[in-house]
Subunit: 491 residues, 2 copies
Amino acid sequence: MAKDFPTREENYAQWYNDLVIKADLAENSAVRGCMVIKPYGYAIWEKIQGTLDKMFKDTGHVNAYFPLFIPKSFFSREAQHVEGFAKECAVVTHYRLKKSPDGKGVVVDEDAKLDEELIIRPTSETIIWDTYRNWIQSYRDLPLLINQWANVVRWEMRTRLFLRTTEFLWQEGHTAHATSEEAIEETRKILDIYASFAENWMGIPVLKGTKSPNERFAGAVDTYCIEALMQDGKALQAGTSHFLGQNFAKAFDVKFLSKENKLEYVWATSWGVSTRLMGALIMAHSDDHGLVLPPKLAPTQVVIVPIYKKIEQLGEISEFALKIKKSLESKGITVKYDDRDTFKPGWKFSEYEFKGVPVRLAIGPRDLENQTVEVARRDTLEKEILQVTDIEKKIEHLLEQIQKKLYHKALSFRENNTHTVNTWEEFLDIIENKGGFALAHWDGTVETEEKIKEETKATIRTIPLDSKQENGFCIYSGKPSMQRVVFARAY
Amino acid sequence: MAKDFPTREENYAQWYNDLVIKADLAENSAVRGCMVIKPYGYAIWEKIQGTLDKMFKDTGHVNAYFPLFIPKSFFSREAQHVEGFAKECAVVTHYRLKKSPDGKGVVVDEDAKLDEELIIRPTSETIIWDTYRNWIQSYRDLPLLINQWANVVRWEMRTRLFLRTTEFLWQEGHTAHATSEEAIEETRKILDIYASFAENWMGIPVLKGTKSPNERFAGAVDTYCIEALMQDGKALQAGTSHFLGQNFAKAFDVKFLSKENKLEYVWATSWGVSTRLMGALIMAHSDDHGLVLPPKLAPTQVVIVPIYKKIEQLGEISEFALKIKKSLESKGITVKYDDRDTFKPGWKFSEYEFKGVPVRLAIGPRDLENQTVEVARRDTLEKEILQVTDIEKKIEHLLEQIQKKLYHKALSFRENNTHTVNTWEEFLDIIENKGGFALAHWDGTVETEEKIKEETKATIRTIPLDSKQENGFCIYSGKPSMQRVVFARAY
């Protein structure tokens, strides 16, 4: 194997952490809980960003930028929001340093204390709705469909690269509407965008549904989410879309004159995905040989490695390789030709395998003779010799196949790890021993949900949108229930 | 005029501020000194970002992301850097809020005090070089050509939208090299990229040169810059590229094993442009009718407005207009068709004029008959009637013409406002009465530069790269000098 790291079986958590670090995706920084996203990891994030950004714009959204700082008092305006967000956060109290009296270094200048502390945004509803008050007067100003790409900070005690970090990157959409119906429609539209992105780009099947009151966003009337299942049987929330009702409009006094000439509070949504998606992407497909990336999000889709004994052979091979590179690029495929003489082919093979490059082409002197190329695919580790005729079509097709295969593999995994359970014993067995999603009846109360969480660490991941109505009994309380919800332990 | 605001002549500062706000580019936020970049302004910034990002990538750079927070002690590592940057900055001292004892709102939890304060990055050399220490061991790891798009915070007392704000958006490149020569070459390469972007995209001619020691970046051996001249005769520094020598490598102990197997300190550069460029763009071309945007950076390059008396006419006009829109889009032109019935054509005309849309097409019933379209260009406010045959080629050509014209207009302005001065009296006259660039001899000392600044508020904007060697005498001290430098009052 390329790099010395544990298998998933041996130690899943360590496997993930080592993979992130050794594949040059990210690392811990000198600042506790904050990560450095390295160029290879960031290149994947840029693909995620670019794709989502286009999907948002294609549905009429525009980008803007709001301040990093939020005045402390803003948090107290929305009662539930302050409970959820104004706790573990970075607080700016001063705006100046001065020379330390001992001459060594700098100290905080106590004369430069802020009248009101500033909070580094953990999410931007408050500052944005404070701004919207001046932007919205009439129904003509609606809807307002705004998104922001930004960094946010939530002071986390236990952090894990990409999955939970003190600072993370994300997008947060904040829309304003004239009616409740339109806002709910927007919330659902975004949920569909997120699901489509997860499935068609990341190759990760997701459940779409709502959150139980316990898991709802602080300040939301309803939280929609997409939930994915990781290879260790734990769930990962990959994106949320909130219907905020008129809560923030009321908190920040945002009213509009309706077509009927009545002054009404504005309806709101907010929605976001973050660098957490990177964690999902890494965990969903990778194996004990390293990273596996879906072609649509791989910074390099194809790598070409020349194989030669004597340096004199390189010229001819390069000519052949560069012709192939060019024809692949004509199909929009991202190709890297690695002709570095400082590394052996074997080293390069395991390096690109470890970094999850979907397709590797190797070209040696015999390939020149035979007009062939050796094609290795990362997902199955299979190799075959292909004639170079129409190579661009063959590789294009192969990349599509890999993309599909990864999705279907993840889908099979989820199907095999989704269990319909009817008793508490079955439930415990799934949660404690097998992992995965447990579809179970629940009596709909916060108390039951909390007790189940206390006893098993499993939470309701989602109440699926497509779950059918059926009579049943809560696995915990035995009370009647009308539909199954999805339980799991989660990231 | 579209909006009630002063002419440049009446009050240039107010003209600028009103323009930014009334053209929906940005506004002041609830947080002192921080701005909200509105969707229209942000769309321009996205064009700037996208273009520069491609230029960086085409020259081998990659993006990454480093933490927002910098431990306070990091600033003290590089002696000059701490002088320049660790003063006016946002200091995070606590990581938790709690419910206020009186039950109203939240207060800082004094139990959650950080052992070491964290500074919101004013620039990232320190945290990045602390990271590079682990990334660089051998000459094989070099060069490292990394860029970051990020927000930074410098606590400014007097702020102006885009030009000087407490939080701003920027890119910061941080590269590491094996030799001094290579690092200097990188510094110059980036300077050329900045200059080319300013001239070919923003339509703003710039002077390329170095900074005097007084104006140098804190921690740099040499600072290169591009300087532009605004319509009020003040200079604006539009981008800087620093050769940092081994200063940061020494401060953070970043060494590499050279090809000759010797342990050496790494050579560094850093370079950046920010949302300040937006200020330059707005000021460089706009007029008393509002914003003027160069076509290459305009979010909407062409707007089409239908003119009709009866709503029944709209269908036919729309069909005609959408055909034109489609043919323009086939040339990669960004077109908006504004068929809103809630606004009159006259209102739309002045709105798009005010927002600087480069070309406006108006189409009425007579145009349908004659197969014509009325074309208005924003820069000259000229109108003409064109046959629709090959309209996409005509408009494409017109956009190119406008782009060039804006540059040449700005260039003429700069030429007319660049003065060669030989005496202190001439210098004072230019600085106090006329404005613009004053090319003058300077004795090369910090003292003289500071005295000139004290007496006139003019600073050395740059020592031009192409300035010829000539014998002369310092305008202030009368001491001998070998070349002229560029003085001006500046933003």
